[in-house]
Every structure is written in C-alpha cells, then in structure tokens.
C-alpha cells in the first residue's frame, strides 16, 4: 500500500484514495470521435513514469494528478486540480 502525498492533507495511506485513470486517457469534451476513442481504448502503459488521476475519497475528496513510476512506485509529484487550482 503506497503512501500518497495529498496536496491538501499531506501524506496518507493509499486506502484513502481511489484511482480514476491515467492522464493520457482523459477525453477532452471537444475531442473529435476518432481521438476520443483512441484516448478511451488505447493506453500508453509505459514501463516507467506515468501521470495518473486519483481522488482522496476518504479524505478531502479532492482530485489530484500523481506522477508515479509504475515499476518502483516512486511518486515524484502530486498536484491539485479543479477550480481552486486554476491559475
């Protein structure tokens, strides 16, 4: 069980979070059909660093983007997203 550094709550156990999807599989609202389907059904699945969307479901309930090495589970960044994180 990983320890995830929630940008709002600090380091917390993975069991407090749910995983949503990788950032590369996010379908933008205005994506044309072909692109949308590619995003949905084709994964990069790198053996290395990937960006993933997680939610602190049993904590602050905020969404965040985790930069995680998929072999070593090293988490190099965890950034907040959502309206509050807009520039």
């Amino acid at each position: 069980m990983m320890r995830i550094p929630c940008p709002h709550c600090g380091p917390r156990a993975q069991s407090e979070f749910i995983y949503e999807r990788t950032v590369d599989s996010v379908v933008p609202l205005d994506a044309p059909s072909q692109e949308a389907m590619t995003k949905l059904f084709t994964r990069n699945n790198p053996r290395g660093v990937d960006e993933e969307i997680w939610r602190h479901t049993y904590g602050c309930r905020a969404w965040m983007v985790l930069t995680r090495h998929r072999v070593t589970n090293e988490i190099s960044e965890c950034r907040a997203i959502g309206p509050e994180a807009l520039p």
């Binding site: 069980m1 990983m2 320890r3 156990a13 993975q14 749910i18 949503e20 996010v26 379908v27 933008p28 609202l29 994506a31 044309p32 059909s33 949308a36 389907m37 949905l40 969307i53 939610r55 309930r61 905020a62 969404w63 070593t72 589970n73 090293e74 997203i81 959502g82 309206p83 994180a85 807009l86």
Partner: protein, 911 residues
Amino acid sequence: MTTFRFDGTTYTAQAGDTLAAALLRNGIGLVGRSFKYHRPRGIMTAGVEEPNALVTVGEGGRAEPNTRATDVFVYEGLVAKSQNRWPNLSFDVGAVLGLAAPALSAGFYYKTFFGSAKKWMFYEYFIRKAAGLGNAPTLADPDRFSQRAAFCDVLVVGAGPAGMQAALDAAESGKRVILVEQDNILAPSLLRDRQEQDADWINATAERIRAAGGVILTRTTASGYWEHDLVTLTQRISEPGQIPAQGVAQRLWHVRAGQVILATGSIERPMAFAHNDRPGVMLSQAVRTYVHRFGVVPGKRVVIATNNDDAYKSAQALKDAGAHIVAILDARPAPAGANSGHRVYNDAVPLSTKGARHCLKSVSALVDGKAMDWDADLLAVSGGFTPVVHLHMQAGGTLDWNEDAQAFIPASSRQNVTTIGGAAEPQAIFQMVPVSSPKKSFIDFQNDVTLADVDLAWAEGYRSVEHLKRYTTLGMATDQGKLSNMAALGRLAEKQGVAIPEAGLTTFRPPYTPVTMGLIAGASAKDAGAHVRRLALYDLHAAKNPIWQPLGYWFRPRAYPTGGETLAQAALREAKAVRNNVGMTDVSTLAKFEVSGPDAAAFLEIICATTVNKLAVGRGRYTFMLREDGFVFDDGTVWRLDKNRYLLTSSTGGADRMATHISYVRQFLCPHLRVSAVNVQEHYAGIAVAGPQAKAVLATLIGEEPPRHMSTVPAAIAGVPVIILAASYSGERAFEIYVDASQAEAVWAACEAQVNEAGGALYGLEAMEFLRIEKGHLVVGGEVDGRMTPHDLALDKMLNKAGGYIGASGLARPALSEAGRRQLVGLEAIAGDIPEGAMLIPSEGASPQGHVSAAAFRIIAGGSVALGQLTDGFSRHGEILIASSPTRGQQARVRVVAPHFYDAAGERYRD
C-alpha cells in the same frame, strides 16, 4: 506440567514446549502423512519452515488446519490432530498411493487434463479424497481479530543478537522503534547455541530498548513488505485453537516505517538423498534446538551429515546430552572436522536411509567412493544455510550470489530497507552434488517433489524456473519452498550446465508464513462485512415489520405484509392500491444533485444527453446520461427549481458512481464553469405518492392545487418546507415529496394519515417493480445494462441534437446504430409464466436472440408480461418466441410487443 491431546491420546508437556518438542518428548516420531504419496513423516525442523509436521489444532470454529507443530506452543488442553490420513495415522489406506508413485510424477494433473474428460472425472474423485491438507473448519470462528495501524522510525524484524543490537542503537539514539520476533522468546538462536552468558545480555538489552521507548512484540511475524515501507505484522495473542483471554486471538498490524532493518537470519537446508523424508531425519540446528532449548534428545544413536562447521555444534550438544554420535559424514575433504573428537568421515555423502513407519533404523553413505552404512535412530543433516530474504524481495530488492555460502544474499533495494546479521552473511559451506538415486530424494517435502520430478520436467522441456515450479508444484505448498527452492535451483542449474544465479529465481510473495482468514477480515466479518446505510425513515418502516431488501448498501422495504400475507400477496395488494386508489413509498435512496450557478444549465447539458437549457422554471423532464463510449449510463429527472438552480435525480444503484462521475467532470473536465454540483442524496428524504387519488391527497396535504405532471413547486406539509415534483414511475398521477431528512418523519406521518384516509396503502420495492414493468419504465441495472445505446432503448429522439454531452462522440460510431443490435421489447405470455432471466429463442435448440430482463404481470387484468432485449426487436413485434430458463426449469411461449402494457398514451398522468 501441561496436558494436551494428539489424535485422541493425552500427553504431558513441559512449560515452554512447542507441540513438536512435546511430541518428541513423548517419543512420537510419526506426526503426519505426506500430501501426495501419504508417506509417513516426522518432525524435521524447529521453526516456521517445517514442511512435514502439519496438524489441525483446536476444535469447532476455532480449529486451525495446517498448523506447523513447530510453530505452536503447548497450552493446557491443547487438542491436535494429524492430517491427510485414513483411517488413522499409523495405518493409512492412502499410503498405497506411494506404491503408485511413478504414475503420480510431475505434471500428473496436466497430463490427465489432456486425456478424455471422463478419465479426469474418474481421477478427480480419488485425487480430491487422497491429496490434501487439513480440513477448513465449517463453524464460525468465535474469536475476535483486531487490526491496528502503527508508525515508527525504525522497524527491526528478528530479535536475534543482530536485531536486538540494531533496535537498541536506534532506540537509544531517540528513534521510535518496533522490534518484532516470531518466536515467543527473544534471541532463540542464543538459547539454541547455549551461550549461557547471553541470558543476561538478552534481558538487559530488552530492558534498555523498552526504557528508551521501544516496543518489542514477540510471537509476531512480519508477514508482508508492501509499498512505501509498509510492513504487515501478524501477532498471535493466543495460540492456535486456544481460547483467548481477552477475546482477541490475533492482531494484524499495518506498520508504516521510516526505515526497516531485517535481521531475519537463515534457514538450514536439508540434503537430497533417497528416503531423506523418513521420521528421524532432522535438520542439525533443529536437533540442537530440541536438545538445548527444550531438553529433548530426539535420538540415541546419531549420524550427522554436513557440508559445514555448524553441524559440529549439534554433535557436541548431542554428546553432552548423552547421545552416541555414531558418525559424522562430512562432505568436505580432510582435514575438515579432524580435531572435533568425533568419528568423522570426509568426502562422505548420504545415499539412503532404512527404517520402519515410525522411526529410522540405518543410514548409508558414499564415503570417498565407497558405500558404507551405520545403524542409527537419528540422522541430523546440514546442507548449508539459506538467508531469509523474503521481505527484502517483497520490497522489490535484488540479490547477489555468495559463492562461499552457495546462497543468495540481499543486494540493493528501492525501499528503505537493510539486511544485517546472518541473513546478510551466511556461513560458508562446501558445494556438494547429490549422488543418490533421484527417485525418493525429496526436495519439496510438503508437496512430495523429488529430484526425479525436476529431472522429468527438464526432460519434457521445462526450462524456466517459473515453468518448473508450476509443472512440479515445487515451492507451492504452505511452506512456500523455504527448504526446497535452493535444492531445485541447484538441480536445474546442473541440468542447464550453468551456475545457480543464472538459473533464475521465482518470485517471493507475501505472506512469509500462512495467515488465517479471520485475521485478514478483522472486524469486517460476519454482519460487519459491508456497511449498512439506513433510511432517514428507517424506524417508521421497521415499526411495520416489512420484508427488507438490500439495495447496494441500503435496506429498503420490499413489501409490508399484513395478516399472514406472502411477499407476492402483499406486493399485489400494494400495487392494486396504487392502480385503483393511492399508495405511498419511500424513495429516499434516489441519487440527488443540486446544481446551481450561472453555468448550471451548460454543465447539465454536458452530463445529460438530453436538452436542459430550454426547461422553464418550475418544470422538469426525464433525462439520461451516457458513458464516454456512448452507452447509456444512468437515467433520472432534471428539474429547474429557480433561474440558476436545478435538481438532478438518478438511480439508487448508480448513485455513488454518478456522484464520482459528476465530480470528475466538474473538477477535471470543466473547472472553468461557474457552477456548483452538490450531492444531496442524503440531505433529502423522498416520499412518492401515486395513484388516481394522489392529487386529492396532495391537495389536502399542501392546501393548494398540486402541480401538473412534470412541474415542481415549493410547499409545506405539516409545517415543514418540502419540494413537490410531479413525476411518475408507476404510471399513475404521482408526486415525489422531498424534505430535509431530519424533518422527514413528520411529513411521512402526515402523508400516511391522508393516504389511509383515502383508503390507500404503503407500497414497497416489489410492488414498484410490478408497476414499472407494466408501464414499461426502465431500471438501471436491468434494461439499462451497460450494453444498450439510446437507440436500443428507443430514447434517441430525446438526444440533444446540438451534441456536446459526454458520450456524444462515442455514440457517433457507426456500429452503435447498425442493424443486428439488441433492442428493448415487451413480451406477453401466450402460455405459461415468463421466467425472469430467460433466454429468447425462436425454437427449441436455437441460439438465443435476447433475454428477459424483468418479468411481472398485468396488475388488474392478470397475465404474464415482461421486458426484454431482442436482436432487431423493434421490427419484430407480433413474432412468437420461446422464453426459456434452463436454470429454473421453466419456459413460456411469448409474443413480442411494444414495451407498454398499461396506458401507452400516458393519459393517466393528466388531470
């Protein structure tokens, strides 16, 4: 003095005995039967690595099968039974399998699978009876299992001399320390080696660790090393099968450590030679443990076989205890062992043993190329030492090969873990190759795998160690190959003509030693397996003693039977009340979202596949939502409460995933919108009032003209503010009343009084199902099963032409509107009752063309009707099919019709 029972006989044990020590003390050599061949087996080790002496400890729900006799400490009244034997341990019918051993060689199962199915069925019957371990208890475990989270700076695993010193250093430098030891004493290896002067050191060190704030847990195993330095500890508070003093039998710890120090030591290896599995063949260090720690001498005439110096300590221990050392077979050339004072044979490798069922009688060996034998009742072997690297490997570490010790030792790790002591620096040994016949040379004692099985797997083309493992089942028993893996690797490397490190390694997985299911479940067992969500009006329902129905985590009344009614009778009475008069029901569990802000309509047009922004204030409409791939996700209603304020409802079962979906879209896809989407599912309780008299009932309740169908007004009932939505799921004129959950009881009571006044009834989920099926309304999880598009459900005319909603681009894929798709249809029975879940076939034996998703009957007129999905169903109205359910043994002839059996024109909604 403690008494215990083994296979029905009462024995006595000394304080501190393990069950194995106590059995040896009572002269019991035969403890179990092997897994496959039912060979007689005794006690081989003195630790958790024991492969042979597996017993069932305890009785009833407390029984724990496959417990290592070496890993349970005797308590007063302990009851243990041997396993895998019939009718008894001494005379075991299954042992005849041993005679058939050649037929049960490696890959036996796989080879049998490839034979005819009939043959397998024949074998399976016997295999299931013959092969096996203890039986799982059938009664519920009466004990409690607790779980605890803990944090520390340094976790030290293994309280040997190295581990204790590391824990002391860390604790005295101000760190928070947890020290764990799987044994029930500290530094058991010092006791084994009888270094008397160490007792004071152990006590003083433990005292100092505790004084510095350190926590010492004995009888606690670090069973798993997970990510980011999380280690699970399994703590035995009571022994297996023992009634716990405080109710708690075991505790599972989740320890997040800043640093982990592994001082896990090493496990002695057996040697491979014929009949090396006989009772009376024991590991050398185990023999020393029994002599020094427990005061039990397991043999009088002892042969020792070794390839290292350590075994000489055992020889000395045995000699001091009065045993006769017949011979020491040292695989090393002279002058190894020359000054030991024992009769030492160099260049000596064991060949075989002879004995009876319960004991060893003689040992033969090849000494400098010449066969010799000795009478002996105990053979102590030491084939070297395997460092316990399990946790290091579970943590994602790598290994180095230590040539002197012929062993893998921990190298680098990606987690914050270091290994110290014997696990990092195993003793040097002499590399030896088995010379005995491979046939009865066991390497995996628990799964009955011999060197011959490894050879056979090799001959049949299994080259990778991972394949070898699965084909021979080597290392796959409950001991996870603690004794066997190195022997197998050695043989494989020999076959391949490579060095052992090149032969590869299998994966080390948690748990290190078996963990009971109760411990994993912890408090989440029995009724606490899933949480229960209670309706705000739960107490009012419970007072009427309804039949409850679980719905997700919710419990909702399924029907309110009175006067001895069955479920079906009650539901039919309730449904008739709705059709003829008026009924009311609790709809609080529906998903509800309040969406507000200047961009609320724009946001809803992203979530919903229907138009929203043309909705006038005070009006509502049916809506549905799609997944990103274009399939229908959920459905519900959307209501415009105010200029920039909407209420969205959707299904109960999909409520949590809809909440997540809405949050994801809002937070991730459109953070720029000026909108707030709040989950108000449990903020409001909901009451539906439906039936021809519903309007009159509501008028009395709110004191004004109720809103027309698909309109909403704020009102008050019994002085409590409510929102009235005029919507119908039942097909009758109906209203949903939403009220702050904390004030719902007063509103429910007022409604119930009026419904009773009008001669109506409460209705539950079963009646609601009858009503909606007759009306042809969808249910998410039934007709909307994740494979249906809006076209398949005839909802496509409602789609927002402008697009822009989630799923629009997925839905645009041509295949989603091509012919040949399953489409929603109604079914009415010509003969028989339509079974729910039945397949729809044109004739007997034909392939299914669809299925029945929900079946009920016409509430007033009678007759079986159903909703279903049928290939190209829209164009097949009038066809006759068979609805067949082989699992229920029912079938009916049905006619395909439109999915509306009641008021297709919707006239009953209008005033």
